[in-house]
Amino acid sequence: MNVFDIIGPVMIGPSSSHTAGAARIGRITRLLLGEPVRTAHIRFHGSFAKTWQGHGADRAVIGGLLGLNVDDENLRRSRKLAAEQGMEYDISPVQVRGAHPNTVIIEAIGGSGKTVTVQAASVGGGSVLVQYLNGMEVGFSGSKTTLIIQHKDVPGAIAKVSRLLAASRTNIATMRVFREEAGGRAVMALELDSVPEETHIDALRNVPGFDSVTLLRV
């Protein structure tokens, strides 16, 4: 925590956890999908399920899914923007056993048919934690520049990533790897000290077995 966590963040009210955090989760989902959202199924759990209308968590998530930032005044009219941009959505409560009180599950489907499912919690002060990605248990916040790679678990995958990031002179601050089972689906989450060059991100996208490469800057 530093002085700009105390005098800040600049955000759309009324609640850092229920509005700013909700918008951030929506935006992370949009970035992970990698294309405009055509349909979104939004499921609120716990405190979110009780107060989403009054706190504008619905408008915040929808705005985030449209790519809006937490301080964008358009969050308030995001439902209208969604209609204009042809994004369909539905919202309903859900009970997730053992989940954080401010949890939302979003299934976002793009125009190409690509689907991403995110379960994330708003953990306070606008910070969030993505807990499941496409049904796989993960754990990343997106508070720093974060590279998310969904890939097949094969030997050498990490080496390829670190080699390309080194070529881009990008320092890795933290790195976590999650996988379903040996040789199954896996997710790498790397927090970076700087933004890698676009050519190196593209090179990562072309690595065989890498299904999805997303640079999160939220």
């Binding site: 925590m1 002085v3 005098i7 009210g13 209308q53 009054g54």
Partner: protein, 287 residues
């Protein structure tokens, strides 16, 4: 320094004030800024958003999404400007602006969390109105924001700034402590007086519960911003008059944490106790 007011005061003595000590600490701990100019530009932007929210919140037609609050700041400002405020024009305008920013927040406006969204009206109301009254420069206001931030950082690290953890004393209380210190700074108080101002404000709001009606940041939250800023000004006045707080600031903050830990869950942002449980606020279906 980020965990102790006494260390903050020692550093301030070496560096020529709390704002300078805070800037130096921030440069070492924030990798997104590389010099004072960048840091001050960010603080200047926060100040601009604060001003904007105080302006927008004075719209008489403003309403929150739930329609529970909005439009009240305009009434309070009207009273202040027409000489009707019991506390005089300055306090009247400070209170009106605190309500304005808090109502802007409730209406999904753009605000600066200071330290939280629920307590966002207190610090801007005092700074903007002090500038209007006494002619402080923007640079002085930015220094005051660092002073407020320094005390807020210690409160966050030593106690809490989350209502769900420490009750409203952790949100409006912390904001009042930060604001009292900032006001004492602007009025020429020493770093020790700024710390005393913070202590008095925290002491006077200790135990304040977090009891939002329907779980929303509206009732009583927006009105508590008004109460808290009044406490902040009186706390600063006591310190500036040379009254030393009998309890050191760090100990007051520790006490605040212990009080927060002792609060039942029903009074920590669950919407189940206090104002939230009043029959007329829950349609007679209170538990």
């Amino acid at each position: 320094m980020e965990r102790s007011v006494s260390k903050l005061l020692r550093r301030a003595a070496e560096r020529g004030g709390i704002a300078a000590a805070m800037r130096e600490w921030q440069l070492r701990h924030d990798d997104t800024v590389t010099n004072n100019e960048q840091m001050d530009a960010r603080m200047r932007e926060a100040l601009a958003v604060m001003r904007d929210s105080a302006e927008k919140g004075l719209d008489p037609a403003l309403r929150s999404v739930s329609r529970l609050t909005g439009g009240n700041a305009a009434k309070l400002m009207q009273a202040a400007l027409s000489g009707q405020s019991a506390g005089g024009s300055l306090l009247g305008r400070v209170c009106a602006r605190a309500l304005a920013v808090a109502e802007c927040n409730a209406a999904m406006g753009r605000i600066v969390a200071a330290p939280t969204a629920g307590a966002c009206g207190i610090l801007p109301a005092a700074l903007i109105t002090m500038q209007e009254e006494y002619g402080y420069s923007d640079e002085q206001l930015i220094d005051a924001l660092y002073v407020a931030g320094a005390f807020g950082l210690v409160i966050a690290n030593r106690a809490s700034i989350a209502g769900a953890q420490g009750g409203c004393q952790a949100e409006c209380g912390a904001a009042a402590g930060m604001t009292a210190a900032a006001v004492a700074f602007l009025k020429g108080g020493t770093p020790a007086q700024q710390a005393d101002a913070c202590s008095f404000a925290l002491m006077n709001l200790m135990g304040l519960v977090c009891d939002p009606v329907h779980g929303l940041v509206e009732v009583p939250c927006v009105f508590r911003n008004v109460g808290a800023v009044s406490v902040a000004l009186s706390a600063a006045d006591m310190a500036l008059a040379g009254i030393g707080c009998p309890i050191p600031c760090d100990e007051v903050i520790d006490a605040m944490r212990q009080v927060g830990d002792a609060l039942p869950a029903s009074l920590r942002e669950t919407g189940e106790g206090g104002c939230a449980a009043c029959p007329s606020m829950c349609g007679g279906e209170c538990q």
